[in-house]
Assembly symmetry: C2
Homo-oligomer: 197 residues x 2
Protein backbone atom coordinates (compact mmCIF):
# COMPACT_ATOMS: atom_id res chain seq x y z
CA UNK A 1 0.00 0.00 0.00
CA UNK A 2 1.26 3.43 -1.00
CA UNK A 3 1.55 6.18 1.62
CA UNK A 4 0.26 9.70 0.98
CA UNK A 5 2.72 12.59 1.22
CA UNK A 6 1.78 13.51 4.75
CA UNK A 7 2.42 10.06 6.13
CA UNK A 8 5.42 9.61 3.87
CA UNK A 9 7.15 12.49 5.68
CA UNK A 10 6.60 11.16 9.21
CA UNK A 11 7.64 7.64 8.23
CA UNK A 12 10.83 8.97 6.69
CA UNK A 13 11.49 10.96 9.86
CA UNK A 14 11.15 7.83 11.99
CA UNK A 15 13.07 5.64 9.56
CA UNK A 16 16.17 7.74 10.15
CA UNK A 17 16.47 6.01 13.53
CA UNK A 18 14.61 2.68 13.34
CA UNK A 19 13.53 0.25 10.60
CA UNK A 20 9.83 -0.49 10.30
CA UNK A 21 8.05 -3.23 8.40
CA UNK A 22 5.11 -2.29 6.15
CA UNK A 23 2.77 -3.69 8.77
CA UNK A 24 4.35 -1.62 11.52
CA UNK A 25 4.09 1.50 9.38
CA UNK A 26 0.38 0.90 8.85
CA UNK A 27 -0.13 0.14 12.52
CA UNK A 28 1.71 3.31 13.52
CA UNK A 29 -0.21 5.51 11.07
CA UNK A 30 -3.49 4.17 12.43
CA UNK A 31 -2.55 5.65 15.81
CA UNK A 32 -2.20 9.18 14.43
CA UNK A 33 -4.74 11.98 14.19
CA UNK A 34 -4.64 14.47 11.30
CA UNK A 35 -5.01 18.09 12.34
CA UNK A 36 -5.36 21.24 10.21
CA UNK A 37 -5.08 24.61 11.80
CA UNK A 38 -5.37 28.16 10.45
CA UNK A 39 -2.80 30.88 10.87
CA UNK A 40 -3.18 32.82 14.14
CA UNK A 41 -5.22 30.12 15.84
CA UNK A 42 -4.19 28.12 18.87
CA UNK A 43 -3.27 24.47 18.87
CA UNK A 44 -3.29 24.65 22.67
CA UNK A 45 -3.32 27.24 25.43
CA UNK A 46 -1.92 27.55 28.96
CA UNK A 47 -4.21 25.76 31.38
CA UNK A 48 -5.02 22.98 28.90
CA UNK A 49 -3.90 19.46 29.63
CA UNK A 50 -1.89 18.55 26.56
CA UNK A 51 -3.70 15.90 24.55
CA UNK A 52 -1.14 15.24 21.82
CA UNK A 53 2.45 15.29 20.78
CA UNK A 54 2.67 16.77 17.28
CA UNK A 55 4.64 16.27 14.09
CA UNK A 56 4.41 19.14 11.61
CA UNK A 57 3.88 18.23 7.96
CA UNK A 58 3.19 21.76 6.73
CA UNK A 59 3.36 25.28 8.12
CA UNK A 60 4.94 26.94 11.13
CA UNK A 61 4.00 27.24 14.80
CA UNK A 62 5.41 28.97 17.85
CA UNK A 63 5.53 27.45 21.35
CA UNK A 64 5.60 30.06 24.10
CA UNK A 65 4.81 31.06 27.67
CA UNK A 66 3.56 34.40 28.97
CA UNK A 67 5.29 35.78 32.06
CA UNK A 68 3.55 37.72 34.86
CA UNK A 69 3.89 40.93 32.81
CA UNK A 70 2.25 39.29 29.82
CA UNK A 71 5.53 39.24 27.88
CA UNK A 72 5.83 36.20 25.58
CA UNK A 73 8.89 33.94 25.69
CA UNK A 74 9.17 31.60 22.73
CA UNK A 75 10.60 28.18 23.45
CA UNK A 76 10.71 26.90 19.88
CA UNK A 77 9.50 27.43 16.33
CA UNK A 78 8.19 24.23 14.79
CA UNK A 79 8.18 23.81 11.01
CA UNK A 80 7.85 20.88 8.58
CA UNK A 81 9.57 17.69 9.80
CA UNK A 82 9.73 18.93 13.44
CA UNK A 83 8.17 17.41 16.55
CA UNK A 84 6.55 19.68 19.11
CA UNK A 85 4.16 19.84 22.05
CA UNK A 86 4.47 20.30 25.79
CA UNK A 87 6.14 17.16 27.00
CA UNK A 88 5.81 18.03 30.70
CA UNK A 89 2.01 18.32 30.50
CA UNK A 90 1.72 15.39 28.06
CA UNK A 91 3.55 13.11 30.50
CA UNK A 92 2.26 14.34 33.85
CA UNK A 93 -1.27 15.14 32.63
CA UNK A 94 -1.07 18.41 34.54
CA UNK A 95 -2.16 21.74 33.00
CA UNK A 96 0.35 23.26 30.62
CA UNK A 97 1.96 26.68 30.95
CA UNK A 98 2.48 26.86 27.19
CA UNK A 99 0.61 28.28 24.24
CA UNK A 100 1.10 26.84 20.76
CA UNK A 101 -0.08 29.11 17.95
CA UNK A 102 0.19 28.67 14.19
CA UNK A 103 2.06 31.50 12.45
CA UNK A 104 1.06 30.00 9.06
CA UNK A 105 -1.81 27.71 8.00
CA UNK A 106 -0.48 24.38 9.19
CA UNK A 107 -1.00 20.64 9.04
CA UNK A 108 0.02 18.27 11.78
CA UNK A 109 -0.12 14.66 12.84
CA UNK A 110 -0.87 14.15 16.52
CA UNK A 111 -0.42 11.14 18.73
CA UNK A 112 -2.64 11.04 21.81
CA UNK A 113 -1.27 10.03 25.20
CA UNK A 114 -3.30 6.81 25.13
CA UNK A 115 -1.94 5.90 21.67
CA UNK A 116 1.58 6.87 22.70
CA UNK A 117 1.41 4.36 25.56
CA UNK A 118 -0.18 1.79 23.26
CA UNK A 119 2.54 2.31 20.70
CA UNK A 120 5.25 1.14 23.11
CA UNK A 121 3.25 -1.98 23.94
CA UNK A 122 2.50 -2.84 20.34
CA UNK A 123 5.78 -1.86 18.68
CA UNK A 124 8.45 -1.77 21.43
CA UNK A 125 10.98 -0.61 18.83
CA UNK A 126 9.46 2.85 19.29
CA UNK A 127 11.12 3.07 22.70
CA UNK A 128 14.34 3.19 20.74
CA UNK A 129 13.01 5.80 18.33
CA UNK A 130 11.97 8.11 21.14
CA UNK A 131 15.15 7.38 23.10
CA UNK A 132 17.18 8.67 20.15
CA UNK A 133 14.78 11.55 19.39
CA UNK A 134 14.87 12.79 22.99
CA UNK A 135 18.61 12.28 23.20
CA UNK A 136 19.11 14.55 20.22
CA UNK A 137 16.64 17.16 21.49
CA UNK A 138 18.43 17.07 24.82
CA UNK A 139 21.77 17.82 23.19
CA UNK A 140 20.34 20.91 21.50
CA UNK A 141 18.45 22.14 24.58
CA UNK A 142 21.55 21.77 26.77
CA UNK A 143 23.33 23.94 24.22
CA UNK A 144 20.48 26.44 24.11
CA UNK A 145 20.40 26.67 27.92
CA UNK A 146 24.13 27.38 27.95
CA UNK A 147 23.94 29.99 25.23
CA UNK A 148 21.14 31.77 27.08
CA UNK A 149 23.37 32.37 30.07
CA UNK A 150 26.73 32.81 28.34
CA UNK A 151 26.24 34.67 25.05
CA UNK A 152 25.17 38.24 24.35
CA UNK A 153 21.89 38.83 22.51
CA UNK A 154 23.82 39.72 19.35
CA UNK A 155 25.75 36.44 19.48
CA UNK A 156 22.53 34.47 20.00
CA UNK A 157 20.96 36.21 16.99
CA UNK A 158 23.93 35.46 14.74
CA UNK A 159 23.89 31.79 15.76
CA UNK A 160 20.16 31.50 15.24
CA UNK A 161 20.44 32.95 11.76
CA UNK A 162 23.26 30.56 10.91
CA UNK A 163 21.54 27.49 12.39
CA UNK A 164 18.02 28.17 11.09
CA UNK A 165 18.42 30.33 7.96
CA UNK A 166 15.07 29.20 6.58
CA UNK A 167 13.11 29.89 9.74
CA UNK A 168 14.43 33.47 10.10
CA UNK A 169 12.60 34.47 6.93
CA UNK A 170 9.31 32.95 8.03
CA UNK A 171 8.88 34.69 11.37
CA UNK A 172 8.45 38.30 12.52
CA UNK A 173 11.25 40.21 14.20
CA UNK A 174 9.01 40.48 17.23
CA UNK A 175 8.76 36.71 17.54
CA UNK A 176 12.47 36.36 16.96
CA UNK A 177 13.05 38.81 19.85
CA UNK A 178 10.78 36.68 22.07
CA UNK A 179 12.88 33.63 21.17
CA UNK A 180 16.27 35.33 21.62
CA UNK A 181 15.09 36.74 24.97
CA UNK A 182 15.16 40.49 24.31
CA UNK A 183 12.73 43.33 23.51
CA UNK A 184 11.59 43.92 19.90
CA UNK A 185 13.22 47.37 20.07
CA UNK A 186 16.62 45.94 20.94
CA UNK A 187 16.16 43.19 18.31
CA UNK A 188 15.64 45.93 15.73
CA UNK A 189 18.87 47.64 16.79
CA UNK A 190 20.85 44.41 16.60
CA UNK A 191 19.55 43.55 13.14
CA UNK A 192 20.35 47.03 11.84
CA UNK A 193 23.83 46.78 13.34
CA UNK A 194 24.61 43.25 12.10
CA UNK A 195 23.29 43.88 8.57
CA UNK A 196 25.24 47.14 8.29
CA UNK A 197 28.51 45.14 8.34
Amino acid sequence: MKLDNTHQLIIENISRFIDLTELEKQKYISLLTEIKIDRKTFLMQAGDITKYEYFITKGCLKVYTLDENGTPHISMFAVEDYWTGDMASFITKEPSRYFIKATEDSELLGISRANYDLLFQQIPKFERFYRILYQRSLISYIRRANHGISLTAEERYIRFKKKYPKIVNRITQKDLAAYIGITPEFMSKIITKVNRR
Copy 2:
Protein backbone atom coordinates in the same frame (compact mmCIF):
# COMPACT_ATOMS: atom_id res chain seq x y z
CA MET B 1 23.49 -12.44 45.29
CA LYS B 2 23.56 -9.29 47.43
CA LEU B 3 24.51 -5.98 45.83
CA ASP B 4 27.01 -3.64 47.44
CA ASN B 5 25.85 -0.10 48.29
CA THR B 6 27.29 1.46 45.18
CA HIS B 7 25.47 -0.86 42.82
CA GLN B 8 22.38 -0.84 45.03
CA LEU B 9 22.00 2.92 44.32
CA ILE B 10 22.23 2.67 40.53
CA ILE B 11 19.85 -0.31 40.43
CA GLU B 12 17.32 1.58 42.53
CA ASN B 13 17.67 4.56 40.18
CA ILE B 14 16.94 2.39 37.16
CA SER B 15 14.17 0.46 38.90
CA ARG B 16 12.15 3.65 39.22
CA PHE B 17 11.43 3.33 35.49
CA ILE B 18 11.84 -0.34 34.50
CA ASP B 19 11.74 -3.72 36.25
CA LEU B 20 14.85 -5.86 36.04
CA THR B 21 15.31 -9.54 36.87
CA GLU B 22 18.25 -10.55 39.09
CA LEU B 23 20.04 -11.84 36.02
CA GLU B 24 19.54 -8.57 34.16
CA LYS B 25 20.85 -6.62 37.17
CA GLN B 26 24.01 -8.74 37.23
CA LYS B 27 24.40 -8.43 33.49
CA TYR B 28 23.99 -4.66 33.66
CA ILE B 29 26.44 -4.26 36.54
CA SER B 30 29.03 -6.26 34.61
CA LEU B 31 28.96 -3.54 31.94
CA LEU B 32 29.90 -0.77 34.39
CA THR B 33 33.31 0.61 35.33
CA GLU B 34 33.98 1.89 38.86
CA ILE B 35 35.77 5.23 39.00
CA LYS B 36 37.18 7.15 41.98
CA ILE B 37 38.31 10.69 41.56
CA ASP B 38 39.87 13.22 43.93
CA ARG B 39 38.57 16.70 44.55
CA LYS B 40 39.85 19.27 42.06
CA THR B 41 40.80 16.70 39.47
CA PHE B 42 39.27 16.31 36.02
CA LEU B 43 37.03 13.49 34.93
CA MET B 44 37.36 14.84 31.39
CA GLN B 45 38.55 17.96 29.59
CA ALA B 46 37.60 19.88 26.46
CA GLY B 47 39.17 18.21 23.43
CA ASP B 48 38.70 14.72 24.86
CA ILE B 49 36.36 12.31 23.14
CA THR B 50 33.99 11.31 25.91
CA LYS B 51 34.51 7.68 26.85
CA TYR B 52 31.71 7.23 29.37
CA GLU B 53 28.35 8.33 30.61
CA TYR B 54 28.51 8.58 34.41
CA PHE B 55 26.31 7.89 37.40
CA ILE B 56 27.46 9.51 40.65
CA THR B 57 27.37 7.35 43.77
CA LYS B 58 29.27 9.77 46.01
CA GLY B 59 30.56 13.33 45.83
CA CYS B 60 29.93 16.31 43.59
CA LEU B 61 31.14 17.39 40.15
CA LYS B 62 30.70 20.39 37.91
CA VAL B 63 30.22 20.22 34.13
CA TYR B 64 31.33 23.40 32.36
CA THR B 65 32.68 25.08 29.25
CA LEU B 66 35.19 27.92 28.99
CA ASP B 67 34.31 30.76 26.61
CA GLU B 68 36.82 32.66 24.46
CA ASN B 69 37.61 34.95 27.45
CA GLY B 70 38.31 31.94 29.66
CA THR B 71 35.15 32.53 31.67
CA PRO B 72 33.57 29.28 32.91
CA HIS B 73 29.88 28.53 32.30
CA ILE B 74 28.54 25.65 34.38
CA SER B 75 25.96 23.46 32.70
CA MET B 76 25.15 21.26 35.70
CA PHE B 77 26.24 20.14 39.15
CA ALA B 78 26.12 16.37 39.50
CA VAL B 79 25.75 14.81 42.96
CA GLU B 80 24.76 11.36 44.29
CA ASP B 81 22.04 9.65 42.23
CA TYR B 82 22.59 11.93 39.20
CA TRP B 83 23.64 10.99 35.69
CA THR B 84 26.17 13.16 33.86
CA GLY B 85 28.62 13.32 30.97
CA ASP B 86 28.73 15.02 27.60
CA MET B 87 26.07 13.34 25.57
CA ALA B 88 26.94 15.12 22.32
CA SER B 89 30.54 13.87 22.35
CA PHE B 90 29.52 10.44 23.72
CA ILE B 91 27.14 9.93 20.82
CA THR B 92 29.00 11.58 17.95
CA LYS B 93 32.49 10.51 19.12
CA GLU B 94 33.67 14.04 18.36
CA PRO B 95 35.86 16.03 20.78
CA SER B 96 33.98 17.54 23.67
CA ARG B 97 33.82 21.22 24.55
CA TYR B 98 33.17 20.39 28.21
CA PHE B 99 35.25 19.99 31.34
CA ILE B 100 34.03 17.81 34.19
CA LYS B 101 35.81 18.45 37.48
CA ALA B 102 35.16 16.98 40.93
CA THR B 103 34.43 19.60 43.59
CA GLU B 104 34.55 16.85 46.24
CA ASP B 105 36.25 13.42 46.36
CA SER B 106 33.82 11.42 44.27
CA GLU B 107 32.85 7.92 43.20
CA LEU B 108 31.16 7.12 39.92
CA LEU B 109 29.99 4.28 37.76
CA GLY B 110 30.73 4.71 34.08
CA ILE B 111 29.29 2.98 31.06
CA SER B 112 31.47 3.02 27.96
CA ARG B 113 30.06 3.74 24.53
CA ALA B 114 30.69 0.13 23.46
CA ASN B 115 28.87 -1.21 26.51
CA TYR B 116 26.05 1.29 26.09
CA ASP B 117 25.44 -0.05 22.58
CA LEU B 118 25.78 -3.63 23.83
CA LEU B 119 23.29 -2.93 26.61
CA PHE B 120 20.52 -2.16 24.15
CA GLN B 121 21.22 -5.35 22.24
CA GLN B 122 21.35 -7.54 25.30
CA ILE B 123 18.60 -5.95 27.40
CA PRO B 124 16.34 -3.98 25.00
CA LYS B 125 14.29 -2.82 28.00
CA PHE B 126 17.05 -0.27 28.57
CA GLU B 127 15.81 1.64 25.51
CA ARG B 128 12.77 2.35 27.63
CA PHE B 129 14.83 3.35 30.65
CA TYR B 130 16.87 5.85 28.64
CA ARG B 131 13.78 7.05 26.78
CA ILE B 132 12.22 8.01 30.10
CA LEU B 133 15.47 9.36 31.59
CA TYR B 134 16.10 11.60 28.57
CA GLN B 135 12.47 12.66 28.44
CA ARG B 136 12.68 13.88 32.03
CA SER B 137 16.04 15.59 31.48
CA LEU B 138 14.58 17.25 28.42
CA ILE B 139 11.68 18.67 30.41
CA SER B 140 14.06 20.27 32.90
CA TYR B 141 16.48 21.58 30.26
CA ILE B 142 13.65 23.14 28.26
CA ARG B 143 12.65 24.91 31.47
CA ARG B 144 16.24 25.96 32.19
CA ALA B 145 16.65 27.31 28.65
CA ASN B 146 13.49 29.37 29.08
CA HIS B 147 14.48 30.71 32.47
CA GLY B 148 17.86 31.76 31.13
CA ILE B 149 16.24 34.10 28.62
CA SER B 150 13.18 35.21 30.61
CA LEU B 151 14.14 35.58 34.29
CA THR B 152 16.46 38.06 36.01
CA ALA B 153 19.59 36.73 37.72
CA GLU B 154 17.96 37.24 41.12
CA GLU B 155 14.92 35.18 40.11
CA ARG B 156 17.16 32.41 38.76
CA TYR B 157 19.11 32.36 42.05
CA ILE B 158 15.93 32.14 44.14
CA ARG B 159 14.63 29.26 42.01
CA PHE B 160 17.93 27.40 42.16
CA LYS B 161 17.99 27.67 45.95
CA LYS B 162 14.43 26.40 46.19
CA LYS B 163 14.92 23.56 43.70
CA TYR B 164 18.36 22.39 44.88
CA PRO B 165 18.60 23.42 48.58
CA LYS B 166 21.20 20.71 49.30
CA ILE B 167 23.45 21.57 46.39
CA VAL B 168 23.62 25.30 47.26
CA ASN B 169 25.50 24.46 50.46
CA ARG B 170 28.02 22.22 48.72
CA ILE B 171 29.28 24.64 46.09
CA THR B 172 31.14 27.96 46.11
CA GLN B 173 29.41 31.24 45.31
CA LYS B 174 31.76 31.57 42.38
CA ASP B 175 30.57 28.29 40.87
CA LEU B 176 26.98 29.23 41.55
CA ALA B 177 27.57 32.48 39.63
CA ALA B 178 28.98 30.47 36.71
CA TYR B 179 25.81 28.34 36.74
CA ILE B 180 23.38 31.25 37.07
CA GLY B 181 25.20 33.09 34.28
CA ILE B 182 26.54 36.17 36.09
CA THR B 183 29.81 37.45 37.57
CA PRO B 184 30.86 36.38 41.09
CA GLU B 185 30.69 40.04 42.13
CA PHE B 186 27.07 40.37 41.11
CA MET B 187 26.27 36.98 42.69
CA SER B 188 27.67 38.33 45.96
CA LYS B 189 25.43 41.38 45.72
CA ILE B 190 22.33 39.30 45.00
CA ILE B 191 22.97 36.94 47.92
CA THR B 192 23.49 39.86 50.30
CA LYS B 193 20.29 41.46 49.05
CA VAL B 194 18.13 38.31 49.15
CA ASN B 195 19.36 37.23 52.60
CA ARG B 196 18.80 40.72 54.04
CA ARG B 197 15.03 40.28 53.58
